[in-house]
Point group: C2
Chain length 342, copies 2
Amino acid sequence: MSELKNDLFLKALRGEQVQRPPVWMMRQAGRYLPEYLKLKAKYDFFTRCETPELACEITLQPIDIIGPDAAIIFSDILVIPQALGVKVLMEEGRGPLLPDTISTQADIDKLQVEGAAERLDYVCKAISLCKQELNGRVPLIGFAGAPFTILCYMVEGKGSKTFDKAKQFCFTEPALAAQLLQKITTATIEYLKAQVKAGADCVQIFDSWSGMLAPADFDAYSLPYLKQISDALISMCPVILFPKGSWYALQQLSETSCSGIGIDWTVPAIYAREQTPGKTLQGNFDPAKLLTDPQTITKEVNKMIDAFGVHRYIANLGHGILPNVPVDNAKAFVDAVKNYPN
Amino acid sequence: MSELKNDLFLKALRGEQVQRPPVWMMRQAGRYLPEYLKLKAKYDFFTRCETPELACEITLQPIDIIGPDAAIIFSDILVIPQALGVKVLMEEGRGPLLPDTISTQADIDKLQVEGAAERLDYVCKAISLCKQELNGRVPLIGFAGAPFTILCYMVEGKGSKTFDKAKQFCFTEPALAAQLLQKITTATIEYLKAQVKAGADCVQIFDSWSGMLAPADFDAYSLPYLKQISDALISMCPVILFPKGSWYALQQLSETSCSGIGIDWTVPAIYAREQTPGKTLQGNFDPAKLLTDPQTITKEVNKMIDAFGVHRYIANLGHGILPNVPVDNAKAFVDAVKNYPN
């Protein structure tokens, strides 16, 4: 494996001194890039994910076109339910659909934790290929969905504004919810370990829906599983936890073994810093701000870095990049960080 | 006008001593009640809103069936765009649709602020009728959408998970956004004053989408207009501001003239109290918890009141009641507050 030529991202996670913060964008390999849309027109979603050459090509597109300081493997958080034996359909433009929702003990008993990571070997193959193709240009991030977010989809069966059915399941069947969360967690840990063995330099856990939970419910249904995953991976590589919307849990997250914590754009830098001593923060540009213009973006990026400071900070969006962002604006975001403090 | 037999709600807003907190539920007049569904099957949405006898009947249904300490007039926040001259369509089960979205100076110039409140006279007629029918049983709350939330619908044209188009408009056309927000604010103030003159004992401002804004953008596009409305109404009646999701702005909200501040279920009581000295807090039960059972609800309500305390507190949900809540569970919520601290 080639030595990393740009290890700014890993330095920031280790708390080392840097000249400027590293930068990448959540969903940087995706729908705002015309080069991606060409592949999307030719291959369906699962073909793109499951063909290492395609996943690798998509992962590298933003590295060549936009130039961030880290790559993130192109995949989806819903490969875990799939590997557990649950059918996942992806209809373009309509979001995911899991027709066989989980609601009973029998549903949970049927889930196949054993061999789940092996069934996701195509992700590891894509990671190995990417590491080779990257040739040390930037580090490669592996990822998985957090157990609570995966439970949301497995119980609700589709996306939702509020995931009431998933929450109702947790609140009325807490013992079943714990079993389901534990099965997801166990499979996720094996899956992430395999990603690291295949070459991932860091892993990020996306808890996209944890912000739907009240603090006490976050403590019950999200935090213990994030902790397990972080504890299991941290000796192998840096771990970033991103429980979107769970501003109220930052202090608790700072007491876990993780290296970095992702925050969305509602969290003021001063509050986030107070709550998370000793951790690296990642975020938190409002994705909708990338719909403005390069000058505005540059000005706002400078303000953001001024607020967070250069050290223990990874510049990123507060959520995934929107599909209708002009490529020049995405590039302006990355360039503004690279040129800081100009 | 009859004297109020139950003024617990107003006492809590004035900061007076009470034996237990008052309780009501956002959207308490609505889809979880079979009696409402019968009227919904017979009359379309705007007929229900615009016919004072129907709006009054719907407003009073939860008072008779569930027994909260306040009524809230049955209406919709989108009557304001309608009164400004914008077409609003309500398709059952599909959410609102505003086909003529606002994007230019000409669009804003066309909005008719003058006479807007008069065009909503049917709401005031419904309020007067309700006050008469309530006969002093409980106070009646009037309401309006906050200017930023109304802008969201007027620019986006429909509901959205993230309101990116509305935010893009604000970020790229801040001067136009300010004009639009000011027109909405001016009309809303006249409308709310008319509601109070018609008999509303309190007004609440729903900023359902302010939580989509970063703190600095909340300061630009939401807060100044909430302030204007509060300042204009506060000499007439108590004012409750509910900027859902804007946990980061609680301290600023506590510096406005308002009487009460609504909070969603992600906000810990201890944090909310620290941030809002001298204000009454309203909330913040997770609406999804009403999908459990009466015993669980009672236990959770007791915990909530223990955390907020009895004084300067109005027990409520953290957002509107969900359509699939069993009536017995809604009643358990209200009863648990009434029986506190049993």
